[in-house]
Symmetry: C2
Subunit: 535 residues, 2 copies
């Protein structure tokens, strides 16, 4: 879809929505009188004439027994002073529940990271003491429907994001959480700084460790920081896709089940495919190149990538989401670097401008400095990088790969010299790149390849590829790969192959490094590492 068509589609939807909403609002007030809320709540008792105003909603009422106008509900995040004096129906989680004597209870209701304080006060003509008791007995994280009158308190509300209060008239529990949760959201949402501060004041606060978080990921991801992280992740892939579609790339889906090993080298997950030995693709490399041979011109893919490596680092996963690009080039791999440059600068600009709320939420728990990057991305030759390291007395093999430490150090040096934490290092030694990498025209020791770094860590690898079949076979052999296992791939280039190049990025790494996080498990929804295959 083009931008203008999308915007038209957006406008249409907006105007339809607005009209529908207005009609719904009018209807709402009328319907409130006859109660749209689930009746027959389990609290019904003879000694409480207002028992129908609260209770646990029975399953039968949640089995699609009646149609709902979803417009009856208002999102917590949209509640503000303009709602003063109006009645509202919300659904969310009871984040905290606090009773004040027998006559009053406070419930902070959370929906999509936004919270609002709801107050239940016993009143002779509508709210019974039993109702207050019911509310006070709710377990945290239970799902509730709350109907009440919005008011604006005179003093600011501390424990909730929305600066209005709901005077509860009806409250139904839709789904009750068990009373003792394996982790409390407020513990999971706490920053190290808070824990340290409390410790200095003599108070020991709960610190939820990474493994516990991941074991109960469903609770862990409810924290504001995690809600932010995965909404940012969604934006990263959206911008990636939009940008490339706009530039004429075609989205493809290549198979993850392949015969043989996808690139050779590092370890693969093996499996039996209907009696044939097979493995999981370590990258869409071969198939995305074959798509170029298939005349799609420029392609990209967003999909899982599998690595059976025994890497127990903060930046490796056994399964992650690959963002892969492959494109015809006219003459030079700089055409690929141009795409990287424009795409990522656009992405960072967009995230900073449009994900402020999410970035703040992440930063509150995991403080970080905004990424420093240039409008036009710095490109350094590998040899220049080596020289910078040498000048700083760091010993490195000029024709070897950089280790993590050297990468970090170079990141520091580049930041000091050029003021950027995002840069491209190109013309890597041929020996440290995969067999399909095109050697440089002026030296067989170097290659037309590049890595891209954020905050001193590699996130992107790219290169011009060898498009000449016999030379490709020669390179594969030189790298110790059995040419027979990749003959289909090599043959693809025998039917005419344009010069081409591409790159691959790990989605989780982009989010981790943009947000300055210390562990890739924080940016994978259900991470997989050598020791973890659950939940």
């Amino acid at each position: 879809m083009s931008g203008s068509e999308e915007s038209q589609m957006a406008e249409e939807q907006i105007s339809r929505k607005a009209a529908k909403k207005e009609a719904a609002k009018q209807e709402k007030l009328r319907r409130r009188q006859v109660s749209t809320l689930s009746a027959a709540a389990s609290s019904l008792s003879l000694d409480d004439p207002f028992a129908h105003n609260y209770g646990d909603v029975p399953l039968s009422s949640l089995q699609s027994s009646e149609d709902a106008d979803v417009n009856d509900w208002t999102e917590v995040g949209s509640l503000n002073e303009s709602w003063n004096g109006r009645e509202v129906l919300i659904r969310g989680r009871a984040q905290t529940i606090r009773a004040v004597g027998k006559k009053m209870a406070f419930v902070v209701v959370r929906e999509k990271g936004f919270t609002v304080q709801c107050v239940v006060t016993s009143q002779p003509e509508s709210v019974s003491l039993q109702m207050v008791k019911f509310v006070a007995s709710l377990s945290r994280e239970s799902i509730v429907d709350v109907f009440g009158l919005v008011s604006v308190p005179t003093v600011p509300i501390k424990g909730a994001s929305q600066q209005v209060e709901v005077q509860v008239k009806k409250l139904y529990c839709i789904s009750r959480a068990i009373s003792t949760l394996p982790i409390n959201i407020e513990d999971a949402a706490r920053s190290e700084i808070e824990i340290e501060k409390a410790l200095q004041a003599g108070e020991q606060l709960v610190r939820v460790n990474q493994d516990t978080r991941l074991n109960y990921r469903v609770l862990d991801v409810r924290t504001p920081a995690n809600q932010g992280i995965f909404r940012i992740q969604c934006q990263v892939s959206t911008i990636f896709r939009q940008f490339l579609l706009f530039e004429g790339f075609v989205e493809i889906h290549t198979p993850k089940l392949i015969a043989g090993s996808s690139e050779g080298g590092s370890s693969v997950f093996k499996l039996d495919y209907k009696g044939q030995p097979a493995c999981l693709a370590q990258s869409p490399q071969l198939h995305k190149q074959m798509s170029i041979c298939g005349d799609f011109g420029r392609v990209f893919e967003i999909g899982p990538v599998f690595r059976a490596e025994d890497s127990f680092t903060h930046r490796h996963l056994c399964e992650f989401t690959g963002l892969d690009v492959e494109m015809e080039i006219k003459k030079h791999y700089s055409e690929v670097m141009d795409v990287v440059d424009r795409l990522f600068v656009k992405m960072f600009d967009y995230l900073n401008e449009n994900c402020k709320k999410e970035l703040e939420a992440v930063g509150r728990q995991y403080p970080f400095e905004p990424l420093k990057y240039l409008p036009k991305t710095l490109r350094l030759k590998f040899e220049e990088g080596i020289q910078m390291l040498k000048d700083a007395n760091v010993e490195v093999d000029p024709l070897g790969d950089l280790n993590t430490e050297a990468e970090r150090k170079l990141g520091q040096l580049v930041l000091e010299k050029y003021g950027t934490e995002f840069y491209i290092l190109h013309r890597y030694p041929l020996a440290v790149r995969p067999f399909y990498t095109m050697p440089c025209h002026d030296s067989p020791l170097y290659s037309n390849s590049f890595d891209v770094f954020i905050r001193g860590e590699e996130i992107i690898s790219g290169a011009q590829r060898v498009h000449v079949p016999d030379f490709l076979a020669e390179r594969a052999q030189a790298c110790g790969i059995d040419v027979n296992t990749i003959s289909t791939y090599i043959d693809s280039f025998r039917y005419g192959a344009p010069p081409h190049g591409g790159f691959g990025v790990g989605l989780e790494r982009v989010v981790m490094l943009f947000c300055g996080l210390n562990n890739i498990r924080k940016t994978s929804l259900f991470p997989r590492d050598p020791l973890r295959i659950a939940p």
Copy 2:
């Protein structure tokens, strides 16, 4: 990104592009004089003073030895009468090569499905007989750079899409295809109708069978129909995504490597995960529901789905691209059907309006009638469907699933009665749905579920899910599933779970059925079935 932001992004890019293009054009004319084309072509010979105007480009010139201004090249698809009298540089495949005597040769150059006729005529002051010979000897599907003067012939050009001709001044071969291709593009692009017609006229044309096509997929996908199919596929997932993002859905990525079997029931691909038994996810079902428990509200995923079933039908694959949706609902599974309805009507409208060229290309080889669908999608109850079949004397089990034949028949009946080939059938018998499906409130025999059909074939399955943990365990047990293997999943609902529902679609099926194709292998780039794991 919102629609207006995208459109702004689009405009920015357009204006930047336009400015750049204009500047490039000015520069172009100047630079042409000094020749930007790859020099040192291998044809250099002493007896031809114009040897530098043609030849095979050596590898060294294609190893990023010099920067290219990609704007020097013009896309074949943009060549029209306005180019008359101007010089142009294009890159594409030599689709057909035809010599007329020794002094003239025609080459049809194809790029992204567009073709233009190029003419080489020997001329004493620039084009040698050797050059004509070189061009005539090119192998089909080779990649060439052509530089020449655009002219508009007085008679229409039959063998090319663009109605201009290029008088060749220079022609270099970038990549030579082998001279005998395993399949010829024109054979692969031929429709059954053409073959039949020729046969009636006594001519036997080559028919490329499905397996040969798939064995040489890299050649097969170069046909106009296949280029169209995969561009339509790209649009389908784009619209799917845009629509859902606009409606507040978050894109997620769930693991494909899971412990145990993902839903039980049909066969899974098993593998060894670092010493633990594991399998490939048959759907993101459990994890997308867990994401709802994790407070993302509304989520979707586009990713591979693995089925080890031994299904040798026209509509089953062992690996396909799943489009999955899961969302909180307030009261009724109709809220999920509403999303299906609006999403797919929007999608069909969009494809019909914006993919005309691609749909035509598909239709030329595989003729089909445009899909008949209603602006508001028909919803039929399963019992109504059964009644319609009974009335038509089709015997069906009222509490069983519909077989393929019954589905097709019902599709016919619905088309006759309601004039649509796209409809929703809901309230399926509980017994034929997965364990996590919510039973109906008024009958334990039926469920809050639905299937969606296109042209009499199922493409979407959806339902409200059981969100009550104990009931979910009970249902799993009743369906013969070992509850221990899915305990993490069931436990997810113990921490408070909103009522929710969702659906899953196969991307390849949507494209196949929208285009009325007869085999799902036509809409999978590199299909995987029980007998095929290559290329």
